[in-house]
């Protein structure tokens, strides 16, 4: 079989998020427009942004012993919990129905253990070098989520992380797709995990003026594509997919949730934090993904947008969709679930890919909440304030963009044999 003929399907999904830490709960909340954003006790007076989408309902004891919890940063807890759920749904078990060395993991984080870095930096300053914890490095490195998941489930196939800021999760899924397509593994855990609720991180994003200051109305502060948007709301969690080679999934009778049909990556080569102003960077990633999938723009029934609620992102992303999809951009549907979760940073592409697969399965797309004031520069159909049933939905585009000028686009399709 030629490498390019290998097809890759999704057989498991797992989530940890501000709107729920089980797939059914999170999906129900997203369709109902429930916000996971609230006041943060971590960020009081002095912080421009004092709200966030924190992970509040994860019972970490279900997944990890107290000793394991102590030795892992919280972003790794999220990676573990989402992976366990995804594996359970897929029914895959390394060493039983797939050889350990044919099963890999690519679960990324944009930053890694930022709370660990902050706490140990303080300890260095206050107590001296000999009091810095030996767990500092294993807890802070951004690849420990994917590393620990592999240890836990005996996954001996390709294992690494990708760093592309807020596109890390989606690049991971796209690259894991390639790992399977080129024959280096038959299954991969793929996605992202991030602890976006860190006082150091929030203070820093605030200094950049990237975050909202709408602290009095937490639930409506994230308002992608709305004319009054003033910055993103921090979020946290994980989204993990089990990607599996089609024939492998069929041979064991697995339920196929969707197929990954295309992936594109591109660089802006423009600015350290601003996206290329004409949207051409992200547009190239989308065009590559469409070409890989062999689909025309008109095949895309729904776009789960990056939609961060910053003035710049939403405007540029709209331009990118018009560049890539042409006039059809006005006909397709677009929404940003960050209106409810906040921006889960490196986890965003993972979590939002779970949303894409669910949209295909249930033929319905969540809306963009808090969209009441149209922005003339954001003039597409963003599914304002309500989910919409899309009975004909076959192909969904997922887009993420990261500081540094990194763009990723993945296409999920209904599996029809």
């Amino acid at each position: 079989m030629q490498v390019s003929e290998r097809r890759v399907v999704v057989t498991g999904l797992g989530v940890v998020s501000p709107v729920g830490c089980r797939l059914d709960e999170a999906w129900k909340n997203l369709l109902a427009g429930v916000s996971g954003i609230a006041r943060l006790e971590e960020c009081g007076e002095g912080f421009r942004c004092q709200i966030g989408g924190k992970v509040r309902t994860l019972d970490v004891n279900v997944y990890l012993s107290p000793k394991e919890q102590q030795r892992l940063d919280s972003f790794c807890w999220y990676a573990v919990a989402a992976s366990d759920q995804a594996l359970e749904q897929s029914g895959l078990k390394a060493g039983e129905n797939i050889p350990c060395e044919r099963f890999g993991s690519l679960i990324s984080s944009g930053i890694g253990g930022l709370n660990t870095i902050a706490a140990q930096g303080l300890r260095l300053d206050q107590a001296g070098p000999r009091q810095v914890s030996p767990m500092t490095i294993p807890m802070m490195i951004a690849d420990m989520g994917t590393g620990y998941v592999a240890i836990r489930h005996h996954l001996q196939g390709p294992n690494f992380g990708i760093v592309s800021a807020c596109a890390s999760g989606l690049h991971s899924i796209g690259e894991a797709w390639w790992v399977i397509k080129r024959g280096d593994a038959d299954a991969m855990l793929a996605g992202g995990a991030e602890e976006g609720i860190s006082s150091l991180g929030i203070a820093a994003f605030c200094s950049m003026r990237a975050m909202t200051s709408n602290n009095d109305e937490p639930e409506s502060a994230s308002r992608p594509f709305d004319a009054t948007r003033d910055g993103f709301v921090p979020g946290a969690g994980a989204g993990v997919l089990v990607l599996e080679e089609l024939e492998h999934a069929k041979a064991r009778g697995a339920e196929i949730l969707a197929e990954v049909t295309g992936y594109g990556a591109s660089g802006d080569a423009y600015h350290i934090t601003a996206p290329s102003s004409d949207g051409s960077g992200a547009a190239r990633a989308i065009k590559t993904a469409l070409a890989r999938a062999g689909l025309s723009a008109e095949a895309i029934g729904y776009v789960n947008a990056h939609g961060t609620s910053t003035p710049m992102n939403d405007k540029v992303e709209t331009k990118a969709l018009k560049l890539a999809l042409g006039d059809y951009a006005y006909k397709t549907t677009v929404s940003s679930t960050k209106s409810m979760t906040g921006h889960m940073l490196g986890a965003a592409g993972g979590f939002e890919s779970v949303v894409c697969v669910q949209a295909i399965r249930d033929r319905i797309a969540p809306g963009t909440m808090n969209l009441h004031h149209p922005d003339p520069e954001c003039d597409l159909d963003y599914l304002p304030n309500a989910a919409r049933e899309l009975p004909e939905l076959r192909n969904v585009l997922k887009l993420n963009m990261g500081f540094g000028g990194h763009n990723a686009a993945v296409i999920y399709s209904r599996y029809e044999g």
């Binding site: 012993s65 107290p66 000793k67 394991e68 102590q70 030795r71 000999r130 009091q131 914890s133 030996p134 767990m135 294993p138």
Partner: protein, 87 residues
């Protein structure tokens, strides 16, 4: 400070750090073989002993020989006595 209280405090640090049951932390229990500690655990344990008892840095060669709960208690009691003597 009496001997029992040093042993009790050492024991509770070990229980917390290694996530083991109190009844596993007997005098002859070996950190690595019996209490499932790895090299990072042993470093953290030693740091916690130092800060809990206000001890000067425990030299690496001493740490290497401190393989059981009893040896740790013994060393800490001796170090505390020396510290007391200096004061």
């Amino acid at each position: 400070m009496d001997a029992a209280s040093v042993a009790d405090r050492v024991k509770s640090i070990i229980v917390e750090q290694l996530g083991v049951r109190e009844d596993q932390v007997v005098t002859d229990a070996r950190f690595i073989e019996d209490l499932n500690a790895d090299s990072l655990d042993t470093v953290e344990l030693v740091m916690k002993f130092e800060s809990e008892f206000g001890l000067p840095t425990i030299p690496d060669d001493v740490v290497e020989n401190m393989q059981t709960v009893g040896k740790a208690v013994e060393y800490i009691e001796k170090a505390l006595a020396e510290k007391g003597g200096e004061a």
